[in-house]
Symmetry: C2
Subunit: 428 residues, 2 copies
Amino acid sequence: MPAQNALYAQSGGVTATINASACGLIEAARRNRSRIGRVYAARNGILGALHEDLIDTTAESAAAIRALMHTPGGIFGSCRYDLPPLPQGRAHFERLAAVFRAHDIGYFFYNGGNGSAETAQQIATILPRLGQPVVSIAVPKTIDNDIVGSDNSPGFGSVAKYAATSLREAAADLASMANSSTKVFVMEVMGRYTGWIAAACGMALPAGEDGPLLLLVPEVYFERRCFLAAVRARVERHGWCAVAVAEGIRLADGRRLTQAGGDGIPGHEQLGGVAPLIAAMVRGSLGVKVHWGVLDYVQRAARHLASRTDLEQAYAVGRAAFEYALQGRSGVMPVIRRGSDRPYRWHVEPAPLAGIMNREKRLPRRFLNREGFRLTAAARAYFAPLIRGEAWPPFADGLPVHARLKLKPLARRLQPAWQAPPQSKNRR
Amino acid sequence: MPAQNALYAQSGGVTATINASACGLIEAARRNRSRIGRVYAARNGILGALHEDLIDTTAESAAAIRALMHTPGGIFGSCRYDLPPLPQGRAHFERLAAVFRAHDIGYFFYNGGNGSAETAQQIATILPRLGQPVVSIAVPKTIDNDIVGSDNSPGFGSVAKYAATSLREAAADLASMANSSTKVFVMEVMGRYTGWIAAACGMALPAGEDGPLLLLVPEVYFERRCFLAAVRARVERHGWCAVAVAEGIRLADGRRLTQAGGDGIPGHEQLGGVAPLIAAMVRGSLGVKVHWGVLDYVQRAARHLASRTDLEQAYAVGRAAFEYALQGRSGVMPVIRRGSDRPYRWHVEPAPLAGIMNREKRLPRRFLNREGFRLTAAARAYFAPLIRGEAWPPFADGLPVHARLKLKPLARRLQPAWQAPPQSKNRR
């Protein structure tokens, strides 16, 4: 019996290093051609699997696959799409079984976060019941660092390094302007539900320094009076203050600051962006000049400043996923376990998806001081190894070089084309 | 007669490489100790000179001065402050003459943009008439690239490289999300009056590629209908569209889009930020998911991704300024002249401040295609060498290392302290 093929797909918001996981997986597959056949990739995540929109990665050169190590975004396309649960999702799973059967796919790898882990688990448990046995494995990836059971999530270390670097640099700028111009800079980072990235910005300040840097995270309710007093105190003492704020910070009543319209600024809700709200608040209260920035996609795509630790871990989980497949371990995710902080030791091990999916690891309260605005030593010990090491991409003509893949489509074998049944509704 | 001392100061919005000019100047001075005495630095620009708040740079080690090459921001502090013209500014100039006399300062270097060139020129022309001869030289610096008579401005190449890199990376992210999620990303860059940085973002797209990338600059009036049609066409053809927008884009009536409140979104004016306005416009018109980012200080402080060309030029103008001082050339600025595009050849030469100060070099219309949204070959030939080459700073523990200077204050010699006369008013 010839070896069955594998299908790899990317899901959810992408990262600067998700393609390194693809690289780790595909390179491992190329070293084990006798055991697992071809590695296909689904275009745009699980949607490509449903639509039988598949790519044959064997058409790519070794150099092109290697170039994934320095290419941000999701090279095969990602999606925001959840499979409906049974029974209403039955047509979806039957379709997936048909596609897998048509292309002799016996291994499925879904590279995503908490939500994608559920998709991988659904495929692991439901497809065999539909007569299509498959080894289904989730490969972790999220800048949000909120995957339960993993010490950290691939993708996070790089955005943490980039955001902390950006804040350190912007603070140097601000410090030079503060005497006669801007005194406060507010930098908004991603984090709808968790403050991991905003907290990592605290690393911008060297350990032991009492610098004017405040962190705002969703895990600590935003109290306007308290925050403004803290800014005022920093400006009075240091002449300036830098603020890192997670997009999803909340008021005590649970509403997001952006939903609440912040300072009662009309019409702002539709614009999004908490940094301009915080900036307007500080300007109004302290009467000083304030600048603000919103990093948005730029932060999570910033492969030019990836963390070497993160890149190695992203590669390792891709490779480990393939090894688990060889071992027939379905319904698991390779997670990262930390052995020690100093020296930093870590390893990858399989964890059951049932304990991971749709859960969320929040920033521990002990990572922030009592006031809630600064990192503790425990937080520093946690973040330090994750942002360590540089992994500069190649540059040509002054700009980073990204992989150019052929993305050769696989001939379709099924008729008719997939049409989602009308009752199915995407939850995201 | 012992050699007279020199005073160096930084002015206006700082850059990722302004400290490289300080390094070039101070290192040149250290090689010529017999001809010019000590290099002092004024804290916070010309304000430090007025307040006799001076720093003795001779207290810094050679390594600390060298570390300025990789330190963003203005290490001695900058200011936004214009000297009042005569006759009302007479007290200011008399004060400066007294400070220069007290510290035997015969050379003045002002590192800034168009406005700072006027300050340097005022000092060059007025102080000698007050009995305090001084050789006054402006050192160019501005991310805005708007200094007349210089092919480009030190500071610009680095922000151009960073912004174009960020857009290329964010576009890779966007392209992977577009199928089922975000289809448009709007990235706001600096540029109140000129679109140099926004235009440089066009380099994110490789030459000859017809990719979905639109540029919005203040030199081309913003026409909502035309812009939205262009976005729609790109999204229909490519599935997504990235937009780089300068903060200062204007409507045909001359108002800034942010002043006009953009789409009639109430209360937005006070928040600043044109990207959220553009994003709301696209969302409202096309009905697609839109992300937006505002780089603000992060872009101009991003020393971690400086252009090597820019760094070399920033150093060169600092060194040249010192050489002009040795030659007694007052009232000039070392400007950059381009010999050829390919191979890129450039040199530094002195240009009279009278022809530079308070003027502004705008983006030539021929740099954008007829539609106004894309770069021409002429623009690419201009930008290409300016963003070329990397100059990674040293990193420690995952973050860039910045210079730590002693900033040893010079003992004050004058009584009483400076108090600006009540009639003087800062114009900025």
